[in-house]
């Protein structure tokens, strides 16, 4: 759909008055990424539905967040600015729960470069950090964007950059600026310039139900359709390089199938379609193997497929349900759901097989494990008295904390920096997405403008 945009260099930008040494913090994204050129593979071309957009609202928690001022960027060009970069940055920072950006009405001044900053004003306004910037038109669809982050207390620039950028890259650039700001202040890598894959159900012109696999920016903007089907699609999973998605499709009504699809070319490969279940695919951290669930031997067991050869290794073998595998970050072990004890619980097993060990003990229903990037936390669906909520097991001290308060919460997925958990929930009778910070303080809701949305999976870092 979208063309591949040229890579844009990022040039350090230092304020005129506050020239500082080139910063040593190496951001993890040295170049602007290629714009995501997802090709839509539409199984039923006539059935393409109008694109529905995810809208985000913060539903809980700005207490304790660090005040920050993100001043509207200066615009040097004709007409209106092509994007409100400051708003995108402020929204990102607010969604993290770590920052509380000042409302625009509360901004005490509108500087657009370091030379215009009067620290005393901002100190009086109780702001710790200040972001200013400019966007300049250079030619047709060609801009230069610059921004600077200041420490108001120390009265110095923390970081500054200038970027040549095309119009179609402006949102992405703003997310990248937010990532740089977040990392500079918190020390933790930002995850704003990432993607989310999810399944939505919509209705076409003939009011027929459509299942749509979509990928959007982490803030819900710029959704792109990966696949549309009249039959169920489920269980999307990212490859570690964020270039491929594995998913389950029932496009053949008599048999499920697992596909791996390249997001740039749209080409896909059917990797499994044996009788019974072909489900719960998940890439190994090195991207070379796929854990999956097959039941062709009589009941669901966990297998690992070597993607190059297609060779299968059976990891579990018993009469219970074994499903929902997920890899530990080091690729040495997997977690999965099993009802071998009589009700679903979380188990871990070596990637080479052997004995499985139960790790969840609190509650009668624990399923759908997701491991945090540092391996310490396990998010899962916990069922208790008819309510299903997202709980987190801290493996360092074996404590369990329930983070959400819905009735039908499911499909937890960690942000690649481990700061938040995305999940599916129900709101006003519709399927919506929720996000909660791992400390439970911050909650957001993503609502699709129409239809239901579910099974969110947060992408890895994009580079």
């Amino acid at each position: 759909m979208s063309a591949i945009a040229p890579k844009a260099p990022r040039i350090p930008w230092h304020g005129l008055r506050h020239r500082s040494k080139p910063h040593s913090t190496q951001p993890h994204s040295p170049l602007l990424r290629l714009l995501r050129p997802l090709l839509a593979v539409v199984l039923f071309a006539h059935a393409a539905a109008a694109q529905a957009i995810l809208r985000i609202e913060i539903t809980q928690g700005t207490e304790g967040a660090t005040p920050i001022a993100v001043v509207p960027f200066g615009w040097e060009g004709g007409g209106a600015a092509p994007a409100d970069l400051a708003q995108i940055i402020a929204d990102d920072l607010a969604r993290s729960g770590t920052f509380a950006p000042l409302a625009r009405n509360d901004l005490v001044a509108r500087p657009t470069s370091g030379a215009e900053v009067r620290y005393g004003n901002w100190k009086a306004a109780g702001v710790d950090n200040l972001v200013v910037g400019r966007l300049r038109a250079m030619g047709p669809d060609s801009y230069v964007a610059q921004f600077q982050l200041f420490d108001v207390f120390r009265q110095q620039q923390m970081v500054g950059y200038s970027f040549p950028v095309r119009g179609g890259q402006l949102r992405q650039l703003a997310h990248e600026m937010a990532d740089i700001i977040y990392e500079k202040i918190t020390g933790q890598r930002g995850a704003f310039n990432t993607h989310v894959a999810y399944i939505s159900t919509q209705h076409d012109a003939a009011n027929e139900r459509l299942f749509v696999l979509e990928v959007s920016d982490a803030d819900g903007h710029a959704p792109e359709t990966v696949l549309t089907s009249k039959r169920p699609l489920m269980s999307p999973a990212w490859s570690p390089d964020a270039q491929r998605l594995a998913y389950v499709s029932f496009e053949d009504p008599s048999r499920s199938a697992i596909f791996v699809q390249d997001l740039r070319t749209g080409q896909r490969k059917k990797v499994s379609s044996v009788p019974g279940i072909n489900g719960a695919p998940v890439f190994s951290p090195d991207g070379k193997r796929l854990a999956l669930v097959l039941s062709h031997r009589g009941n669901p067991d966990i297998y690992v497929m070597d993607l190059a050869s297609g060779d299968l290794t059976q990891l579990t073998n018993n009469r219970a349900i074994d499903t929902e595998p997920t890899w530990e970050p080091d690729g040495q072990r997997l977690l999965f759901t099993s009802d071998r004890s009589g009700s679903p619980q979380i188990y871990q097993i070596s990637a080479s097989g052997g004995r499985a060990e139960r790790i969840s003990f609190q509650g009668r229903y624990n399923a759908s494990p997701a491991v945090s990037p540092d391996g310490r936390l396990v998010a899962m669906v916990q069922g208790e008295r008819g309510r299903y909520r997202i709980a987190v097991l801290d493996r360092s001290n074996n404590t369990v904390r329930v983070l959400t308060d819905g009735k039908l919460d499911e499909s937890p997925s960690f942000a690649p920096n481990g700061s938040m958990i995305l999940y599916a929930t129900e709101g006003s009778g519709r399927g919506v997405l929720g996000a909660v910070s791992v400390d439970g303080r911050m909650k957001q809701r993503f609502t699709l403008s129409e239809g239901d949305v579910r099974e969110p999976v947060w992408s890895p870092f994009l580079n």
Partner: protein
């Protein structure tokens, strides 16, 4: 010979039914609303010769089925959905008769194939529900096999919670969604 198979199947079915009913009922959920009363299938007390030719599309009240009976709204075969209780894959006793009727039909027409589609309600995680739906489909498969249906006539697929029959997030919808559908495949 076909009739003999069917008769044997019925006996086996009776035995499996007895075994089933000795397992305890799940206690988590209140009993669902009563299911529609199904026509009773009269089993012949003794073997009788088939009458040829069979009328198409008519269910014969003596328990024999014409080939078209599967499309006859008055036939017990018209009931093609088996409902389940919460978190259970046990076929409830009120559905044994209707499965028995389908087994008789399938045993009589060995070239007919049926797909057993397992479904769950929306509660709990999705892939786990795929596994639960398959268990339900296997329960129905086991009963049909015991009643004389050949394995080649049956295929299984589980849709988990992906294709609810009733929308809504309440017990009324969930009761409708915990099911196995018998889908006769076009020949």
């Amino acid at each position: 010979m076909k009739r003999m198979l069917k008769f044997t199947g019925t006996c086996l079915l009776a035995m499996s039914l007895y075994a089933c009913s000795s397992t305890p009922e799940p206690v988590e959920q209140p009993a669902p609303p009563p299911e529609p009363v199904l026509p009773q299938v009269e089993q012949p007390a003794e073997l009788e010769p088939l009458i040829e030719p069979e009328p198409e599309g008519i269910y014969l009240a003596n328990g024999d089925f014409s080939r078209g009976a599967v499309n006859d709204p008055d036939s017990p075969l018209a009931q093609k959905v088996i409902f389940f209780e919460f978190d259970s894959d046990r076929v409830r006793s009120e559905f044994i008769d209707v499965l028995n009727a389908h087994a008789s039909y399938l045993a009589t027409y060995g070239d007919v194939r049926v797909r057993l589609e397992g479904h769950t309600d929306e509660r709990g995680s999705r892939e786990y529900n795929i596994a639960l739906g398959e268990r339900r489909a296997r329960s129905v498969e086991n009963i049909l096999l015991l009643a004389g249906v050949r394995a080649e006539q049956l295929s299984l697929v589980s849709y988990g919670e992906e294709l609810p029959a009733a929308l809504g997030h309440n017990e009324e919808a969930w009761t409708q969604n915990r099911r196995v559908e018998l889908v006769y495949e076009l020949q």
